[in-house]
């Protein structure tokens, strides 16, 4: 009996502590792999949060309150992530920046959702996390796995106004995965048709039969998922047959070797690629701060985590409260200036303006094109 009393009294002290913290500080949970194999993905996010919070606290905090970081480890394991989430919730966090891995994030999200806590991951790329609509409390500052296909299809349909599209891939994981997303997006858009969907064998001597098939399908554009050797063979084969079909491809083709090999035939080819943020002044500042404080270059997803922390704290500031609905509205409506650019979030939780841009070969160079 005495033991139980002891336990209750200890617990009540903890609860009091939590409440006390909750009242006069903003509690930021940072969850992810801070130990184990994948710690190198998670630790940079803690450092990013520390840098942002330090800068904001120096300016007087958020809503006049100091921001406090609560870091919890999930080792990228879904079975640990639920515990991590419970621990953070019991500490009274207002928002969570994390988790790092898609699997762990998914496992933890249910708990945050029940507690109405906004969660923002710097690195979980699984498309379903946002697109399923199951987790309205989830946001992320990284493009999802299907973002390239989405960008390519949007570009073909809205910017180029193409009605018939041939989707070609190289049968590989990367190329085929992308092509499948592209096909799905075109079909669900309802305004264009997939007139051809084919896989080609990488390294074959030529692709003349497929090229004839593309011609016969009367496609206005080809969306190709794969790498540059096959792309340059396809493009030069098509141009030699006097076809001016638009060629749209991916990051595997946005490589200078493609232009070197396909030469004049590369001209006019579109390819999506990661947005270049290295020249952004905020990126330079964040990287410099990291070097000064920790004495080395930042690790993986550092900029995404930095931006996520900024976006979360900015939303609290703009909303004037830490209430769930107000925060969601602020995230969707208020732009925030981050190292990844000026971002806000769409209804599903993906950051707008983060991730990939469209490039076109112009005069032998890849040039970013406006939408």
């Amino acid at each position: 009996m005495r033991h139980i009393f002891k336990l209750i009294s200890i617990l009540s002290i903890f609860i009091l502590c939590a409440n006390a913290i909750a009242d006069d500080t903003i509690n930021l949970g940072v969850a992810g792999a801070h130990s184990g194999d994948l710690a190198s993905y998670g630790l940079p996010s803690v450092k990013a949060a520390e840098l942002v919070v330090e800068a904001i606290n120096a300016k007087g905090g958020v809503l006049g309150k100091k921001v406090v970081i609560w870091a919890e480890d999930d080792a990228c394991k879904p079975e640990l992530a639920t515990n991590t989430a419970t621990r953070l919730v019991s500490k009274g966090v207002h928002v969570v920046m994390g988790h790092i891995c898609s699997g762990a994030t998914k496992a933890a999200l249910g708990i945050y959702k029940d507690m109405n806590i906004v969660t923002m991951s710097p690195s979980a790329t699984n498309p379903g996390l946002t697109q399923s609509g199951n987790y309205p409390n989830f946001y992320r500052t990284i493009a999802s796995d299907d973002a390239q296909a989405r960008l390519e299809v949007d570009f073909a349909l809205s910017t180029l106004k193409i009605k018939k599209i041939a989707v070609i891939h190289d049968k590989g994981d990367y190329g085929k995965g992308l092509a499948e997303y592209a096909r799905k997006f075109i079909v669900t858009s309802g305004i264009a048709k997939v007139v051809l969907y084919e896989g080609i064998t990488p390294g074959a001597v030529d692709y003349s039969a497929v090229i004839r098939k593309i011609k016969r399908s009367k496609a206005g554009a080809v969306i190709f998922g794969g790498y540059h050797p096959e792309a340059s063979k396809l493009v030069s084969g098509m141009r030699k047959k006097r076809m001016d079909t638009i060629f749209i491809s991916d990051d595997g083709v946005k490589d200078d070797t493609f232009i070197k090999v396909a030469k004049e035939y590369a001209e006019g080819v579109y390819a999506s690629g990661p947005k270049d943020v290295s020249v952004h002044p905020l990126t330079k500042k964040a990287t410099n701060d990291h070097q000064q404080k920790f004495g080395k270059d930042p690790g993986a997803f550092f900029l995404n985590a930095y931006s996520a922390t900024q976006a979360l704290l900015n939303a609290i500031e703009k909303a004037g409260t830490t209430k769930y609905e107000a925060l969601r509205k602020a995230l969707q409506n208020e732009f925030v200036e981050t190292p990844l650019g000026k971002i806000r979030f769409d209804k599903k939780g993906d950051a707008l303006g983060v991730g990939f841009s469209m490039y076109q070969v112009q005069n032998g160079k890849y040039v970013e094109v406006e939408k």
Binding site: I200, V205, D206, A209, R212, S236, A262
Partner: protein, 309 residues
Amino acid sequence: MISENFTDSILYFIELLLGGLTRGSIYALIALGYTMVYGIIELINFAHGEIYMLGAFTALIISGIMTMNGYAGMSVFFTAMLVAIVYSSAYGYTLEKIAYKPLRNAPRLSPLISAIGMSIFLQNYVMLAQTSDFMPFPSFLPDFECLSLIDYMIGGPELIILITTILVMICLTILIKYTRIGKAMRATAQDKKMAMLVGIDINRMISATFVIGSALAAIAGVLIATHVGQINFYIGFIAGIKAFTAAVLGGIGSIPGAVLGGLILGLTESFATGYVSSDYEDVFAFALLVLILIVRPSGLIGRTEIQKV
């Protein structure tokens, strides 16, 4: 409307046919080297694809040097081709002396493994000595003016490859049937001991076979590289596998067989892609190989005719 559709599908058929013939003649040109070597010493020369790749690389280097010094056009093409032929032939000759001759009386598996070893060695040698990247290859072959009306069906380079393959096949057949060296080769192929007894230098004959086979590989390498426009150290492997399949399909050891096998393989792939799906291109090609080998185990024109080499 119906007639227009009909014309369209006829045109489509002709396009696929010509595309298949071009691809087939590419396979055939490489397959000739496989089949000659097999004919004379019953060895599958797996390094043949690498000789093809070496030919393409030599031509690229020569053409680069010549272009830098201000030469242009067909003179570059012919010089590059010539040097590639000489260089590849030298490689073929040396390859035989180093990797196969010491194993001539060894069990049949040993030279086979030695061939695979040479293939891997040459690939990695080129990768380290040159580059692992894809290199652009200049397009030497002109698009003829007179073809401009039908070049959506068949272009200049494709026509040249097709004609070269046919010419090479005819020359080889004449060489083997009617010349002194051809007779000596056939004799070596039929019975080495007897050939030696009647005064034929069989080592020279075997070397000659490797030299001719390698020269053909070099011609194929340069023509195809200029048609496709890119090369890297690995092109020999896939081309080699397909050409080997073509040689087996036609009946390995037979020269018309290699050409026939190449053309059939090329046409099958082209039609499979055109009418079914390119996903199944290889499935159809190899299903055909299996079918033909079930009906005719020695290939289409294999063995039953005594015309070896």
